[in-house]
Amino acid sequence: MVLVSEQDDGTLVQRSIQGDRAAFEQLVVRYQKPVYNVALKLLRDAEEAKDIAQTTFLKAFEHLQDYDRNYRFYSWIYRIAINESLTVLGRRKSLEPISGAELDESPGPDLEAEGEQTRTAIEDALMRLTPELRAVVVLRHVVQLSYEDMAEALALPEKTVKSRLYSARQQLRGILEQQGAV
């Protein structure tokens, strides 16, 4: 969970708007890890995730004055990161979802420790979800947002978020059972 007070973020945003780059740097330090991880889990490509993180902060900086303080800053920045990631995923749509045959090519148990193998199986399963379902799983399980925060970040009603999360988990459960990973 991201444990920061909104006031702190708000103060940093205000100082950044007034030209205080050190304030924006603090926001980058605070959110670079979750933003990078959101992109990484959505794209499963470290280089692309780095690019997305950089673009996310650049766009946030350029549009700081448009940030509506009725919302949490991190919801706003995660939304930018997700939108950027979905754009990248759209470009490589022909490669997704990863087929079952490709998943079978993952290293066997003799090559990886059990924990690593399980994590790989989960990441493989995640990549078989649609990007929209993957996004709710990432926001919930990677950056641990509440339903309310997820709804803000995705600009969706909370009910839709819950429904997507439910569908995502059901699909993941099916995929993982098929692989014998649960």
Partner: protein, 231 residues
């Protein structure tokens, strides 16, 4: 279990997993778990998947990410980057009058021309206006910051929030492409102005603040044409 009760049960199980179960629902779920082994099995399956997803964890970002981000930022501050265009003095009509000020700092305004457009309902905007003009602006006076303005739209229509730190009452002239209006005697603190029909989404709203007839600050704000992702 029927399809609807299964769906409801899954909703409860999911809320439990996500720590979003209220006391009433918790009791309901406890009863279901006691009564039905299938519910216990569903819960076990959901928890296993949830546990595995939680174990994905965080990866450290590349070491140079922060520096790389900071190097990529434009030299100008966000304020400077989106500073309003110079005012075309003389081209504005200042004939509008403030129709009245109501309690709690809200003002009712009358436009100089045109009819009020339909009042659209829209959630607060996280998104950046497509034109690049901000919906929020700080007011920089010669002697320092004077306050800020923010434009938003809700179920009641357009809403301009003005927060002033100025020690003297200011007059505000607001104009879009077709209308203009003047609000006199804005005091220190927060004032909410309702602007039905003025500055429909996508249309810039130009603001001038005057003290004793002299301009002391200006700003341009604009709402995005539609809500969406911040790009």
């Amino acid at each position: 279990m029927s399809a609807s009760s299964t769906e409801h049960t899954m909703e409860l199980l999911q809320a439990e997993l996500d720590g979003e179960l209220d006391a009433h629902s918790r009791a309901e779920l406890a009863r279901l778990l006691l009564a039905d082994p299938r519910v216990r099995s569903l819960r076990d399956g959901l928890r296993r998947v949830g546990g595995q997803l939680d174990a994905l964890g965080h990866v450290e970002p590349p070491a140079g990410l922060k520096d790389s981000v900071m190097r990529s930022l434009p030299a100008a501050s966000p304020v400077a980057a989106s500073r309003p265009r110079p005012w075309r003095s003389g081209s504005w009509r200042y004939a509008a009058l403030l129709a009245g000020v109501v309690v709690t700092g809200a003002a009712v305004v009358r436009l100089t021309s045109g009819q009020f457009g339909p009042e659209a309902e829209m959630a607060g905007t996280l998104a950046a206006p497509r034109s690049g003009l901000p919906s929020v602006a700080t007011l920089a006076g010669a002697g320092g910051p004077l306050g800020s303005v923010s434009l938003a739209r809700d179920a009641a229509g357009m809403r301009l929030t003005v927060e002033l730190a100025a020690g003297v009452p200011l007059d505000l002239r607001v104009a879009d492409r077709e209308h203009s209006l003047e609000i006199n005697g804005l005091g220190q603190g927060r004032t909410v102005l309702r602007l039905p029909g003025l500055a429909d989404a996508g249309q810039p709203l130009e603001l001038r603040f005057l003290a004793s007839g002299h301009e002391v600050a200006q700003a341009q704000v604009q709402l995005p044409a539609a809500s969406g992702g911040a790009q």
